[in-house]
């Protein structure tokens, strides 16, 4: 269209949910090249149209591999709609001087709300209780089994970044005692630090996973850690499914080795282990911790803000790598 020809060009992969909802707004500021709308194969599309494209927008689901980057010789910035950047070959980006921008702290509150919501739900059996009432058996069966008090419990947070801190702030107000494990100890933070995930887990009742998925954190929550969490322990994961050894987690839940789990993420989404569907001490969510109307607007503003800053040679708003 004539009016978009003067707008800066951006290669769009995915497309991310935020584009599906705010595409009109985005398209007033940038001209998007959309291989997914083209009948020709992606490789051909990229070769014919993207030789000089400098900017790329993607979601957390679209792998940005070194292979793909090789086909985009002019790309200097990648803007992803996700907080996680595990789907992007960061080594290759650093090598080529490509900037990478993520969701920054835009989602932190919503994700923290989900984490806390899942903690309360698992401990107080809200979803299971809701099913109980809707099934009509309350008049017949009498009271639902007792839950577990949230206040006073020891909460261990893995990863005390923006999201972890928001989770800590919230659960502190419930009277929980907060401790954490992170790559580095945060000297200004008053919470107790444990140098290993295992030690943290031994000393907490509720484990909340808020860290990034990296080679070091893949399957970090393994059988040893789960056994250390124990029969009264609860785990909540709003980070990435692969941080937990899912097979072990399912076995522990089925065998009663841990008390319950609240899960927003899984190793092979949208596949979820069927054994979990029979359990009342598990709350399952479809990777929507970030998806509120508010956060989608905020991420639209952040992503377009990052792209505008790039094209205007101004400082990026939320760089993970500043190429």
């Amino acid at each position: 269209m004539a009016e978009s020809k003067h707008l800066p060009k951006v290669l769009l992969l995915g497309p991310p949910n935020v584009f599906q909802i705010h595409g009109k707004h985005f398209s007033q500021r940038f001209q998007f090249l959309k291989p997914f709308e083209s009948p020709i194969p992606t490789d051909q599309f990229l070769a014919e149209n993207c030789g000089s494209v400098q900017a790329m927008m993607c979601s957390g689901d679209t792998p940005v591999t070194s292979d793909l980057l090789r086909k985009l010789p002019a790309v200097r910035i990648i803007v992803t709609s996700s907080a996680g950047v595990n789907h992007i070959d960061l080594t290759e980006c650093r090598r080529r001087g490509i900037s990478v921008c993520n969701a920054g702290t835009v989602f932190s509150e919503d994700v923290a709300d989900t984490a806390v919501g899942l903690v309360i739900d698992v401990m107080r059996r809200i979803s299971a209780g809701d099913r109980f009432v809707r099934s009509g058996v309350w008049p017949v069966q009498g009271q639902y089994p007792l839950g577990s008090k949230v206040g006073g419990k020891r909460v261990g947070i893995i990863g005390l970044g923006s999201i972890g801190l928001e989770v800590a702030k919230r659960l502190e107000a419930f009277g929980c005692k907060i401790s954490y494990n992170s790559r580095t100890k945060k000297s200004s933070i008053p919470f107790a630090y444990y140098p290993s995930v295992l030690e943290l887990t031994i000393n907490c009742d509720i484990l909340v996973i808020c860290c990034a998925l990296t080679d070091q954190t893949r399957h970090m929550i393994n059988k040893e850690v789960l056994y250390a969490l124990g029969k009264e322990g609860v785990i909540v994961n709003i980070a990435r499914g692969a941080i937990i050894d899912e097979k072990e987690l399912v076995a522990c839940l089925v065998d009663g080795k841990i008390a319950g789990a609240g899960l927003d993420v899984f190793e092979n989404e949208p596949e979820v282990p069927n054994e979990l569907f029979d359990l009342d001490n598990v709350v399952l969510s479809a990777h929507r911790a970030v998806f509120t109307e508010q956060s989608l607007w905020d991420i639209y503003e952040l992503m377009s803000g990052n792209l505008e800053a790039f094209f205007a040679n101004k400082p990026l708003l939320s760089p993970v790598i500043d190429g």
Binding site: D113, K149, G152, F277, R288, F291
Partner: protein, 313 residues
């Protein structure tokens, strides 16, 4: 004290029964078919009654127990007890405040997040295999919302403290303004409802607060507002609530209590913008034990002529 007859009105917990049995002569009311007969036969030595939020010492029961001296309720709410009659007859009444404050406040916030973020719906979505076909819908952010609390007592204040940690702005309606509190006070509950997005009911049930949440209040809260009730079912005009939800005049509701428990209006069962739980505000292992211990403590104190721990009358 094992000749002191204690009448337990309804099943509460086996722990409480066990502890009452150790100290008193425990009589269980709920399995008795001919209750009038039973009361006639046993009224001479029933000196105490133990009830809860569902069953209290009402006027009729008090009249049939001439030797009744104390009612110890396993609840903080005493709306099921005829307090006027108790005062007249010099009957003491105790409840279980403080020990359950945190649990009820935790649940109120849990219900609010579950309602706005559709946690229960999402759980069903995954369990029914729907995620394989499509993504779950967008939901509404909880952090930063304006929260209006009806009743800023122990429980209301605990709810406010938690909501603050989520960046919520707080306002309240109470019988009187609390001068040492910074939250905005509304003497008129309609104004509270107009000016908040999440209305949380946490006051005690009295003649004045019965149906305090009526059609007018619901309409003032509006199609984007939600109601969380951890008080008593009778605080809310349930018929009006159901029609408002069905017609979209109210955005949603998280309910722990209902007007005729355990009956819940079936029209709510098909709605995705409501969360329904079975009066579990204080239903945790830890708190139930603490409540039972407090009931026992009060009874022991009374019959040993000591000061009652938590008396209402």
């Amino acid at each position: 004290m094992d000749n002191v007859g204690v009448l337990m009105l309804c099943p509460i917990s086996s722990y409480l029964e066990q502890e009452l049995n150790k100290r008193f002569k425990l009589l269980k009311f709920w399995p008795i078919t001919s209750k009038t007969e039973f009361l006639k036969e046993n009224s001479n030595y029933i000196r105490a009654v133990v009830g809860n939020s569902a069953c209290g010492a009402d006027s009729e029961l008090i009249d049939s127990l001439p030797k009744l001296e104390i009612v110890s309720s396993y609840s903080v709410g005493v709306d099921k007890i005829d307090l006027v009659k108790c005062k007249e007859r010099g009957i003491r009444v105790t409840n279980t405040p403080d020990v359950l404050t945190d649990d009820v406040a935790d649940l109120a916030i849990g219900l609010a997040i579950a309602t706005l973020r559709k946690i229960c719906v999402s759980d069903g979505f995954v369990r029914n295999g729907l995620w394989k076909n499509r993504d779950f819908e967008l939901t509404t952010k909880f952090s930063g919302k304006s929260v209006g609390i009806v009743g800023l007592g122990r429980i209301g204040s605990a709810i406010a403290k938690r909501a603050e940690a989520f960046g919520c702005s707080l306002s309240y309606h109470s019988r009187s303004q609390k001068l040492d509190i910074n939250y905005k006070y509304y003497s008129n509950i309609i104004n509270l409802a107009t000016n908040c997005e999440i209305l949380i009911v946490a006051c005690s049930l009295t003649e004045e607060s019965r149906h305090i949440i009526n059609r007018e209040v619901i309409n003032a809260l509006g199609p984007k507002g939600i109601i969380i009730n951890v008080g008593r079912g009778a605080h809310v005009d349930e018929l009006e609530l159901v029609s408002a939800l069905l017609e979209g005049r109210l955005g949603g509701a998280g309910l722990d209590v209902f007007e005729n428990e355990p009956d819940v209006p079936e029209q709510l069962f098909g709605l995705e913008n409501v969360v329904l739980v079975s009066h579990v505000g204080s239903d945790t292992v830890e708190t139930c034990k603490a409540m039972a211990d407090l009931v026992i403590e009060n009874l022991e104190a009374y019959f040993m002529n000591k000061t009652l721990v938590t008396s209402v009358v």
